[in-house]
Symmetry: D2
Subunit: 267 residues, 4 copies
Amino acid sequence: MKLRGYTVPRTPEGRSSLVPYPPWHYIGAFLVIDYWADPGRTVAFLPDGIDPHPDPGRCAFVAADWQSCSEGGDELVDPSRSQYKEVFVVCSGLLDGEEVTVCSYIWVDRDFALTRGWIQGFPKKLGSIWITRSFGLGGPADPGMAPGARFGATCAAYERRVAQATVTLEHPSRGGPFHNAPPIVNVRHFPRLEAGRHDAPAVHELVRAVSRDRAVSEVWEGSATLELFGAPHEEIDALAPVRIGRGYRFSFAYTVDDLETVRELGA
Amino acid sequence: MKLRGYTVPRTPEGRSSLVPYPPWHYIGAFLVIDYWADPGRTVAFLPDGIDPHPDPGRCAFVAADWQSCSEGGDELVDPSRSQYKEVFVVCSGLLDGEEVTVCSYIWVDRDFALTRGWIQGFPKKLGSIWITRSFGLGGPADPGMAPGARFGATCAAYERRVAQATVTLEHPSRGGPFHNAPPIVNVRHFPRLEAGRHDAPAVHELVRAVSRDRAVSEVWEGSATLELFGAPHEEIDALAPVRIGRGYRFSFAYTVDDLETVRELGA
Amino acid sequence: MKLRGYTVPRTPEGRSSLVPYPPWHYIGAFLVIDYWADPGRTVAFLPDGIDPHPDPGRCAFVAADWQSCSEGGDELVDPSRSQYKEVFVVCSGLLDGEEVTVCSYIWVDRDFALTRGWIQGFPKKLGSIWITRSFGLGGPADPGMAPGARFGATCAAYERRVAQATVTLEHPSRGGPFHNAPPIVNVRHFPRLEAGRHDAPAVHELVRAVSRDRAVSEVWEGSATLELFGAPHEEIDALAPVRIGRGYRFSFAYTVDDLETVRELGA
Amino acid sequence: MKLRGYTVPRTPEGRSSLVPYPPWHYIGAFLVIDYWADPGRTVAFLPDGIDPHPDPGRCAFVAADWQSCSEGGDELVDPSRSQYKEVFVVCSGLLDGEEVTVCSYIWVDRDFALTRGWIQGFPKKLGSIWITRSFGLGGPADPGMAPGARFGATCAAYERRVAQATVTLEHPSRGGPFHNAPPIVNVRHFPRLEAGRHDAPAVHELVRAVSRDRAVSEVWEGSATLELFGAPHEEIDALAPVRIGRGYRFSFAYTVDDLETVRELGA
């Protein structure tokens, strides 16, 4: 096979792939909100192989402001190839009795991150995402990590705002966030386009994220607001909050090499 | 299987898929340039299963300003879901002795079109694409379809211009464009992320595009210019022109329902 | 004065100006909707010097898909410098007893068009605008200019949809659109930043648009829908329709050399 | 005067202005490179009223990743209204014998920041800007503030890369950066569009930036690279480096209330 590269476009030299070979190293600033959606609607988002969680409707909203690179880190000094933002919702469930989360909806603002997400089973669409930043210097434009500091996140897709959230910090957290803490289980899916087989995906498997070298900053927590809006082509309003828990702010880093296939889901 | 939709995100109601089920109906305004790249470098871009074309280095550059929809056409009145632009290069080759073209490089500016392209084997990345338009009304800002009318196309990706082209119309064309006329054969490819199997793609197959209801406007032709630029993460300069043929301007419509798998390419 | 150019950045060679010297030549595809907003709220948008129109609340919504250039037309073959889309609302009024329109709100998607608009008194903000296109070839993705053809326009700004409209064509129009037909009168405004004089703008004058070489295609008309949405930082909902007239589709071209100052508005 | 707001669009309630009234509070992460351009070409960029600097060709390149707000700070939790990035070059000169800098070229990626810049005399165009970030947590994707940490910045405008720079940190700086330290003097300029008076700008004045509540983090310095590229519509290559000094990384905050008019520049 003479064409090279981990993803398309595969080329003679193999340096054009939209996503380079793993490992992929990540670091990001996070805004997380523990919340509960309507239990019945939440269960309906769980893929085959995932059972309902005993805490009905348990979800988390996550907004992340990322920087990432492959081995060697060359993308870091050409930062349009390393930075992206994303907003997602995870629903809680059980895999063979173990607590897991499932990423049901996710928007991201760069193509390499969209594709790298598909490869890991994250059902990414493109969106436009903004997240308040802290600079550690103080003053009226820098919320900082301190009581009363306010952070916001918004996500728009196809010219509509689909999510908006705020977190107002109160104090360092003891153990949170909780709702997105269990391992993520995703559905890797790639369609088939043969005549008569449009409902027999070429790839359809439950996978479990694996990572290493996880690091986290001090976590602050506080009160939160969250709104999720629907559209003719979006069902995220089905996961809108019926009760909102605490909001959190922190930084987080990790590395991904590969993942585990849990089971084939079939057609 | 309770989650529905042709692509992720797959949801209870199935109306959130980034790409809806086919058929997909397309119409677009095209700028095409017949040209020749370095023969050796062009051959190196042909995938397994495709033999070199007897006219060495034969390529075409295409810039297309598209509007598309699925059955029912609802996307047409929410046009951020139906419009996109793309720039691509096809290299000529032979499949079992029959003339075909292979799409070696392609940029597109919308997520639904990127993903719909991947499903059809187009190795799409996101780019920013601009193409001169004709409005049929005349005046200094409307090139029109007339002798001397000038059209340009540019493509940028990751903050660099990667392609720029111009066509200056002379007269209606007798039969062109020629280099992109044979059927397109693509490589559908979706990576695997299991440990130790990163070079064993989950999907890797040669596919042949199938379409129906093709319509084309009158085609005009004229002189052309074309430049393709490289970058550390782009090899499109390997397909830069060594000789430029004629340029063409026209509109084109078609419908895609599915495709034919020609052969499995394996790991 | 050694620095040259019509606008900043002014440079030694004068070829860097965001907006080059006039004349500016324009051509565009238009979607226009004649409508009426709440009369009292509409009058509140009229600047000093403009009296209420005898038809209370008379407004027009306009979505335009433009291509423009300066003398010589070099921007046309580098089309990121010539194409843009905009959405705006004009309110009707009287200037010394003569019917005029005032552009109260306008979004545009490119910097050169934003600045060129400010120079002409259009109160432009950046937005993301999409407008259904017609290609003249037919088929399911091409609405065409024919009975039943549906066109849509959307505008988003700061991550929210602020306007959406549709027009369904019925037949060629006899004389429409009407509400945006009178000449446009704008307020040219440029703020002052001296201490204590923030409310004494450096430029504040009523100006009247002047143009030449106007051309228009056949106009089609039909039924229309229109929604205008507010936000903490947008008051366009104050001009939302209470009654919707007819919608129109056509192409239009003109040239602008300069404008007339009607009167100084002062602090 | 019944319409309200600091800038257009001016409206009945005055909450729609693209730029709200000052004060404006800023905080940002900076990458600065002290360098020298060709002396003759640099002098040609100085506006009337500014004499050449005794250190010929002295310039600075600045890339800034900003968050800003007006009084009250509401934009901070709707962060698309508070965040932007910009890249600029300042040339050194003398104003009445005192060292100053002049901003000769600047790109920014948001409309409110473009307009707020024009009001202060910054000759802003829109661009697409990326700047490596530090997260303070460490790991392969976080350069950190440490010896060997690499930062990059790129700027593209109209589909071309116009600037790229890198800084590799070595140690905390003793006093730098130096080339952008003197006060900025800008030219506030707003064109006239009356017939025959296109070269008699409505506003044309030398202004001096005033600020308060300046704060700066620890500054690190190291080696730097810098490239500035031209285009038919860009002269930034005239300010390309002939010698590169040190590069710097730090955070900076300040507040702007107004500015001082130094002199009228006339037609």
